[in-house]
């Protein structure tokens, strides 16, 4: 009399196990949605990251579906909604997602991230202190370089919180061009970009370097917490294995961000300092 419910329970349990396994198997076959930080135009973004995407598809045996967003704010919003399984994002955005417990940082680049402070080659400014009351050109108001640049000027007492003296641009390029065009007196852009513009336009002395921002951890890879710990490890392994393949090394050399490595706990701690400002700006 008592054995029948037990038997039914066992059958139900067995069936549930099979069903769960089938669902898990199907989930594994699903494409991995990879959200790329929209720091470049979609076309350039794909061209830049295609070698990494191909590498991941080969290593994980899964199709990678690439997504991005029209701007940083939308990207952050979609990240918060866990629209992506894997995210390539700026360190302070990573810190935000991490704090929201939506994502786990799985990898970062070995190089640090900082901005060059440049003025037009023809200008007479030679020190940061000379720029008091002048106009500062920076990239997007949410970009880490913008935050680092503003911090630098704020430390020196140049910026007193009056936002009217800062000119935000859609890209780092635009920020630098503002200085040449005389729309701003000084610009902060990602390190090396001003030199690259001088080289590609064959106009040496176009900019003059008068300083640099402090360094921040570099761009980071995050995995959604909807993925299992094993899957995250597998993805991290696949990313780090890029350092040891010939194609991967060529790709990383061209990118110039160093090797891909496991994240450092200090990195999160450092970057977490920017979170209040970021949150404040996101509320605007």
């Amino acid at each position: 009399m008592c054995r029948l419910p037990l038997l039914l329970f066992a059958v139900f349990h067995w069936y549930s196990g099979i069903a769960a396994g089938t669902v898990a198997g199907a989930a594994e076959k699903k494409p991995l949605v990879f959200g790329l930080l929209p720091y470049l135009s979609p076309n350039l973004l794909i061209r830049t990251w295609n070698p990494l995407l191909d590498h991941l598809e080969k290593k994980l045996h899964r199709k990678i579906v690439v997504k991005t967003a029209p701007d940083f704010k939308t990207f952050i919003a979609r990240t918060r909604k866990q629209r992506y399984d894997l995210v390539l994002t700026a360190p302070h955005f990573a810190a935000l997602a991490h704090s929201q417990r939506r994502y786990t940082i799985i990898c970062s680049f070995s190089n640090t991230l900082y901005g060059d402070i440049v003025v037009a080659g023809t200008s007479s400014y030679s020190r940061i202190e000379d720029l008091r009351g002048k106009t500062l050109a920076v990239p997007d108001y949410l970009a880490i370089i913008t935050l680092l640049g503003e911090k630098k000027f704020r430390q020196r007492g140049i910026i007193t919180g009056v936002i009217g003296r800062i000119r935000y641009n859609r890209s780092h390029n635009n920020a630098l061009v503002s200085v040449i065009e005389g729309k701003a007196d000084v610009a902060v852009a990602v390190a090396g970009l001003a030199k690259k513009i001088e080289r590609t336009s064959a106009r040496p002395g176009l900019f003059r370097y008068i300083g640099r921002t402090e360094s921040s951890p570099h761009i980071m890879f995050m995995a959604s917490n909807t993925l299992s710990a094993d899957q995250k490890k597998q993805i991290a392994r696949a990313l780090i294995s890029l350092n040891s393949s010939a194609d991967g090394r060529r790709f990383l050399a061209r990118l110039g961000w160093g090797e891909i490595r496991h994240p450092d706990a200090d990195d999160i701690e450092y970057i977490a300092r920017f979170l209040p400002l970021l949150k404040q700006r996101l509320r605007r």
Partner: protein, 615 residues
């Protein structure tokens, strides 16, 4: 039912049916091909248009799709939809999630096919050709597929155009078939009317031997009519020829029968071992009636001793092995007497089957004659043998006599010759001129007689000598003879030509004597010629090696040629040319002993040629 069957089997029906089938086939191909070409061109045009749009749309859509910028995508799609028959457009991302759509989607269309001109062609030809054509293209960025775009293309106008082409084609084809059938029926009716008349006229030919139909037409029926008329005429001509032939055959048969029945030889025809025909003569010959002999076989008519031979030859002849056809054998009469016959057999046909025909000749009387002849011949041979023996005996005695006479005569003759020479040498001066003349004549006569005796002895010796036949190098032999002749008369200048390489078969001693006599003869009769020439050679006459000795001497009158080879026969006086008249007789005897032949050709004062063979 029969009329229907006749109609179906008629040429007219078959012609019409064949034409209809051909026309339907050809027109179907034509309509189908036209429809296919239109379809292909429209499909190519449409696909071409879509392919032109693809890179533009790709460029416009890829960025916003990657960014999931809904507003920008909506803007792009709204610019495209409802233009150029594009009724619906949708964009799906890489996970096949519908991202955005614009226009009115045709719901019934379930199959989404990838874009290609073939699939559009297939769609236009299919029963759902009126429904919009769903077309899908991938959206790519830097080689990476980031989604796909789906169109629904309005094909109602194209389908309608194709349908109209088809309907018009079918209408034109149907009309053409109907007109063709009517035209063919009309032609068929005219044609078959003539054919019917022709058939009726042809059916009457065997009975009437006439072809009375006269169709004045330049077409094939007219030609056929002419051909039948010609054929009837030929038929009548052949009939007449056949009748004449039959008559001739009948006459021949009658003649043959008369010949066979009245032949003075028996005639038998044997089919499968039985006699199926026999004439009266064979029946009478063997004591049978004709009917009796016609039931007999070879065993019944042939003597038991000859039966095997005759049967074997009969079988061989039937198997075309050509045995002896003409031979003598023995038949046996009804009362058991052997009848010698001579038969001539041949293979013939008897009612179309191979049979043996034998002509039998009774040779009983001939055999009797042969027996008598044989007896006579044997008697004659006995007589000849006796005579020969007697002659040989007489010859031997004669030869012995002549030898002994010649031999015995030589001793007194040597005395006469020797002493007359002594008288000439020692006592000539004691004799007057007349005495000297007499003495010289005695001496010359003795020498001549001595030569005569020598020649006679030689002739006699030649007759008795035993023959030793062997190969002879004639050229060498002649050279030796000529050399001796030159030694004998060194003062003579004679041009001699000897053919090299001459060979013969004979007794070398006898042949040398013969050749010596002939060369000596030539030498002698050229003594009065300024440039004497003698030629010895060999030629072939009637396939036999013939030796000759030619000279350019005195020659002789051919009227006396027969006397030439007889002993003591001379055609010139002793004063002209010395001689005994034995030399050529000796040569003739030697040639005779070799079973050869000798003859001469000459002309007086122009030389002579002596020919001889050695068997």
């Amino acid at each position: 039912m029969t009329r229907l069957k006749i109609l179906f089997n008629s040429l007219r029906f078959k012609l019409v049916m064949a034409t209809v089938v051909v026309e339907i086939t050809m027109l179907t191909i034509l309509v189908w091909n036209s429809s296919r070409l239109i379809n292909k061109n429209l499909a190519l045009q449409t696909v071409g248009h879509l392919q032109e749009m693809q890179p533009l749309l790709n460029a416009s859509i890829a960025g916003p799709l990657l960014q999931e910028d809904y507003a920008r995508l909506a803007e792009v799609l709204e610019q495209v939809v409802n233009k150029e028959n594009l009724r619906y457009i949708a964009v799906r991302d890489a996970t096949d999630r519908l991202f955005i759509e614009r226009g009115t989607r045709y719901q019934k269309q379930s199959a989404v096919v990838s874009g290609s001109k073939r699939t559009l062609e297939q769609h236009l030809l299919s029963s759902s050709g009126d429904q919009p054509y769903t077309f899908s293209m991938p959206i790519k960025m830097q080689g990476r597929t980031i989604g796909r775009i789906i169109f629904q293309y309005e094909t109602r106008l194209i389908s309608s155009a194709i349908r109209q082409v088809r309907q018009q084609g079918i209408t034109v084809a149907t009309l053409e078939i109907v007109f063709s059938v009517l035209l063919l029926l009309l032609i068929g009716a005219t044609l078959t009317r003539h054919l019917r008349e022709l058939t009726n006229a042809v059916k009457l030919i065997p009975e009437t031997r006439k072809f009375s139909l006269d169709i004045h037409s330049n077409d094939e029926v007219g030609d056929l009519c002419s051909a039948f008329r010609q054929m009837t005429m030929e038929l009548n001509l052949r009939d007449r020829e056949r009748e004449e032939l039959l008559k001739e055959l009948s006459e021949r048969e009658q003649n043959l029968r008369t010949l066979t029945e009245n032949a003075h030889d028996g005639i038998l025809v044997n089919l499968d071992g039985r006699h199926v025909f026999a004439n009266r003569y064979i029946a009478d010959m063997l004591g049978y009636t004709v009917d009796e002999i016609r039931n007999t076989g070879i065993d019944d008519l042939v003597h038991p001793d000859e039966r095997r031979k005759v049967l074997d030859r009969f079988k061989a002849r039937m198997n075309d092995k050509n045995p002896q056809n003409h031979y003598e054998t023995l038949f046996v009469s009804k009362n058991g007497d052997a009848v010698p016959v001579e038969i001539t057999a041949a293979k013939t046909l008897w009612h179309g089957r191979p049979a043996g025909m034998v002509i039998v000749r009774d040779i009983t009387r001939r055999k009797e004659f042969e027996k008598q002849l044989q007896a006579h011949q044997e008697h004659l041979e006995e007589l000849v043998r006796n005579r020969t023996r007697e002659l040989e005996q007489t010859n031997k005695e004669l030869e012995a006599f002549s030898y002994s006479v010649s031999h015995d005569l030589r001793a007194p003759l040597r005395g006469i010759g020797g002493f007359s020479q002594l008288l000439i040498d020692e006592y000539t001066h004691q004799l007057d001129s007349e005495g000297q003349d007499y003495l010289n004549r005695v001496h010359a006569a003795a020498i001549h007689m001595s030569r005569l005796i020598d020649d006679l002895l030689q002739l006699s010796k030649i007759t008795k000598l035993e023959m030793r036949v062997k190969p002879i190098d004639m050229s060498a032999l002649v050279e030796a003879v000529v050399a001796r002749q030159r030694d004998k008369e060194p003062q003579r200048e004679v041009e001699v030509r000897i053919q090299p390489g001459m060979q013969a078969q004979g007794d070398p001693n006898l042949v040398e004597i013969a050749m010596h006599n002939l060369v000596e003869n030539a030498w002698k009769y050229t003594q009065h010629v300024e440039h004497a020439k003698v030629e010895i050679g060999c030629t072939t006459e009637d396939g036999v090696a013939t030796f000759f000795v030619r000279d350019n001497g005195a020659g002789f009158d051919m009227d006396y040629a027969e006397k030439l080879f007889g002993p003591f026969q001379r055609l010139h006086t002793q004063q002209e040319f010395e001689g005994t008249g034995i030399g050529l007789a000796t040569v003739a005897r030697i040639v005779q002993r070799h079973h050869g032949r000798i003859w001469a050709r000459a002309e007086k004062n122009k030389g002579a040629v002596f020919y001889f063979t050695l068997g």
